[in-house]
Symmetry: C2
Subunit: 345 residues, 2 copies
């Protein structure tokens, strides 16, 4: 299949999975909306759309393993709610200004209500997981909660790592540090957990879930690197965040870490100084200079190569762990994902 046909196929599946997840998510949010105007804040990010990648991965894996279409729906919805909770708090922590093409929640409503709305979204994500009992039984529902606890812990620890590096102006970082951070911050909740829970539900807890760690890690890491690349080279309108925002925020992307490791000593000292100033004191000239260095030192090409390598490794893993499953559109989706992740714009 050509790359374009792959992308088209993935997009179609994402739309189908996403529509199902969003519909159920709205039911959970509607319950709160009747109680207080505050729920408009809580619903803001979920209502802005987004492609529901995490929910889709969960639904696709469950169905590829033979689950009924609705059996993984609650788990997928919980994941989307938690994802939105993370986005609200991440935007505050990163002082981001745009999310999905519109001002971030804290810019619209102030930090206090935004922190609280993030907390509310996290709390709301518990309800569908508890409601799993009715459809899946106590044992399976508890296993999913156990997985969710692990995933949420990995995510906050990964986010802490990244914040720590920025707060303490850490610059002596290598690719291994980066990949460990991304494993925890991104991969666990974006790809590893959705697939583990999908497999749990599809097999009724009868497979070794650690088999899916590698595929999830490779896909998730390639996804994160591509996301960070789009922040530098993507089309701002379709990307939905401010261009070069990651450089403004001093985010430790693979490109920045590569640059720190390859540039000459004088430039490295200058970059460290730039990273040591508070975001609001950074100048457009400094940001432009960092961006130019990334081109000059090949950091962007390097990151693209790493993302391609990870996607290749994911394809290989796919055949190791999913090849035995019967053919289905869901299995096709999983097979096409590594390519889509690095081709998307």
């Amino acid at each position: 299949m050509s790359a374009r046909a792959t992308s088209e196929r993935v997009r179609e599946r994402l739309e189908e999975y996403g529509a199902a997840a969003r519909e159920r998510m709205r039911e959970y949010l509607r319950d709160g909306q009747s109680r207080h105007a505050f729920y408009e804040l809580v619903s803001d990010y979920p209502e802005r759309g987004g492609r529901a990648l995490r929910a889709s991965l969960c639904l696709a894996t469950a169905r590829a393993f033979g689950a009924q279409p609705t059996e993984a729906l609650n788990s997928a919805v919980a994941l989307e709610l938690l994802h939105n909770a993370f986005l609200v708090h991440d935007d505050l922590e990163d002082e981001s200004e745009e999310r999905r093409g519109r001002p971030t929640l804290h810019l619209r409503h102030g930090a206090p209500l935004a922190i609280n709305a993030g907390d509310a979204l996290a709390v709301l994500s518990l309800r569908p997981l508890i409601d799993n009992v009715g459809m899946l039984g106590s044992r399976l529902a508890l296993r999913i909660l156990e997985e969710a606890e692990r995933m949420a812990r990995e995510s906050v620890e990964g986010q802490a790592l990244e914040l720590w590096w920025r707060q303490h102006h850490v610059t002596d970082l290598g690719e291994a540090d980066y990949l460990r951070m991304v494993l925890k911050k991104t991969c666990w909740y974006t790809s590893i957990y959705p697939m583990r829970v999908g497999a749990l539900i599809g097999t009724r807890d009868s497979v070794e879930l650690d088999r899916y760690l590698h595929f999830g890690f490779f896909v998730g890491a390639a996804f994160q690197i591509q996301d960070d690349l789009l922040n530098l080279v993507g089309d701002e309108a379709s990307y939905g965040k401010e261009r070069n925002g990651d450089i403004w925020e001093g985010k430790r992307t693979l490109m920045l870490i590569h640059l720190l490791n390859v540039m000459d000593a004088d430039e490295r000292a200058r970059l460290s100084r730039v990273l040591g100033t508070p975001r609001l004191e950074r100048t457009p000239e400094e940001v432009r200079w960092v961006r130019e260095c990334m081109d000059r030192y090949g950091s962007i090409d390097y990151a693209r190569q790493v993302a391609h390598g990870l996607a290749g490794a994911a394809l290989h893993e796919f055949w190791l762990v999913f090849a035995d499953l019967p053919d289905s559109p869901d299995k096709d989706f999983l097979a096409a994902l590594p390519t889509w992740v690095i081709e998307r714009t």
Copy 2:
């Protein structure tokens, strides 16, 4: 029993319950501390002490209903962890400067890491609830999770109400608004949920939990009013927060709401203006003026009376719902609580 003897008795029991809860909580925190320096932030508030009132209420109720001392320990620990998560985010939302006699977490480490540490504490509170399965079985563990989800939802909704009033400069509030907010923001997690879960565990889910709503509401509301009174008239060293901090923050306390309802029109307009300015633009003169008005219009005496009334109602409720339980130090603790709540300094 004299008020002093009651207070002494409650203090002793709090120390015993609190020691057990803190020891188990440290085990849960220690697991993370080995992973990353970031866990020092996570452990900061829990390590500052505090009287573990919520954990104590949960342990006391469970034991008063015949549970073994350790059966409610995980639920009590989860509650303390979540309480600390709330404190970290509340301090950010309120721009508070002191907590338990020391600078707040965001003043020590910046908002990004503090938001994340609060999230981590909330996530950590899930683990002991999942570990309940081993000791209490799946059914009871799931019932407790269900109660926890309700409690957390009530709490974030209550906090949202209060933040909303401040953010939108709402001043047309009455006592009923205040009590509804406190029911959600304070009572659910401070007293209603701890007792519901204690009763759940002690009776193996064989009583109607709504019986304990009134006692929990009355005790929790009296507790919150007394807490807000101590902010105005308490001894700063033993209270652990800055004096008059609530006035600086524009917090809608019962005293402030009383004042808004009884002062003359000119003063009311002036107070509305003061409440409409950002915290950092408020002056010490304005704060002192608000404080003087509260004395002049009897707002402090009024709030004391309401707290006494609520404590009396709680005593009455105690005899309705707990009188049949066999005598025990735990039952004594619950009986003494309404008095202690309004006598403590």
